[in-house]
């Protein structure tokens, strides 16, 4: 199996569509989940932005420096798409959408609804930092590169956002332990 760097070189040098298809297949899930989590309101808009992210990536792939992770680079493009979208739709409200049934278990759907409700309490930047840290599993320095903020600011934002959410859960006496202790069973897997 070829690495991201090898696939990206094939696309940039010989414009190989099969190599780009492979890159999209490998990274689409992370980008779509990230944008769905940020947007929360509209899954089809999130998917449209994810498509746009890959179209931009295809055009600019030659500018990607192979020393960083392609995943981080794609997330930074997706984040720009998200910012452009909320700039255009400044009155957009983040409201939890009921996830589509049929693909995920009941627990997963409940957890997703609760997360979207929680993230709705945060601003776009805090939502992004928290999602990248806890859902995308990125390091603080990677997040700092994506959101273009100093490392210290990223750390303090994540810390403050987490405290805010914990406080909200305590105030509303939410049975979070029941949700989080049950392992999330996904009935549908990509690929």
């Amino acid at each position: 199996m070829l690495s991201d760097r090898e696939l990206a070189t094939r696309v940039a040098v010989s414009n190989d569509p099969a190599a780009f298809t492979q890159l999209v297949e490998q990274h689409q899930l992370a980008i779509r989940q990230f944008l769905r989590r940020l947007l929360a309101t509209d899954h089809s808009t999130a998917d449209d932005l994810a498509q746009e992210t890959f179209l931009v990536a295809y055009k600019k792939l030659h500018t990607w420096r192979g020393n960083g992770k392609l995943k981080s680079w794609l997330h930074s493009i997706a984040y720009r798409q998200f910012l452009d979208h909320i700039k255009k739709h400044s009155r957009m409200q983040v409201m939890a959408e009921v996830p589509q049934e049929g693909f995920d278990s009941r627990q997963a759907m409940d957890a997703e609804i609760l997360v979207q409700k929680l993230l709705g309490k945060l601003g776009p930047l805090d939502r992004t930092c928290l999602t990248l840290a806890y859902a995308a599993g990125m390091s603080h320095s990677e997040i700092s590169g994506i959101v273009e903020l100093p490392l210290g600011s990223v750390k303090s934002r994540i810390h403050r956002a987490k405290l805010k959410l914990q406080k909200w859960l305590e105030q509303h006496d939410h049975p979070i332990q029941n949700t989080s202790q049950t392992p999330v069973k996904e009935t549908h897997r990509a690929g």
């Binding site: 609760l114 989080s180 990509a190």
Partner: protein, 97 residues
């Protein structure tokens, strides 16, 4: 506990997404091809029109030059032109390899 909750819980279906992205890329390339072709046609037509307008004065200039100058000067001018073109084409060849 919150850490666990913040993880992704949903797995979107992949079936149509990848093909939609690749269709979008094809559409972009087709659009780029159309724009390039249109620009080439417009540029070419202006070039032909300009060449037609200049053909008489340029022809006269060459005739006068070759009649008035010695064969050595004409040869030198031709060699310079060939050398310039050689340099230009050699550079192009290297870039396309």
């Amino acid at each position: 506990m919150l850490d666990k909750l913040l993880e992704y819980h949903q797995t979107p279906a992949t079936d149509r997404f990848v093909s939609k992205v690749m269709e979008g890329i094809k559409r972009q390339q087709r659009m780029r091809q159309i724009i390039l072709t249109a620009a080439s046609v417009i540029g070419g037509s202006f070039g032909v029109a300009g060449a037609m307008l200049l053909s008489d004065p340029v022809g006269q200039l060459i005739t006068q030059f070759s009649a008035g100058e010695s064969p050595m000067s004409v040869g030198l001018a031709l060699m310079s032109a060939v050398a310039f073109l050689g340099w230009l084409l050699h550079d192009e060849t290297r870039m396309s390899v």
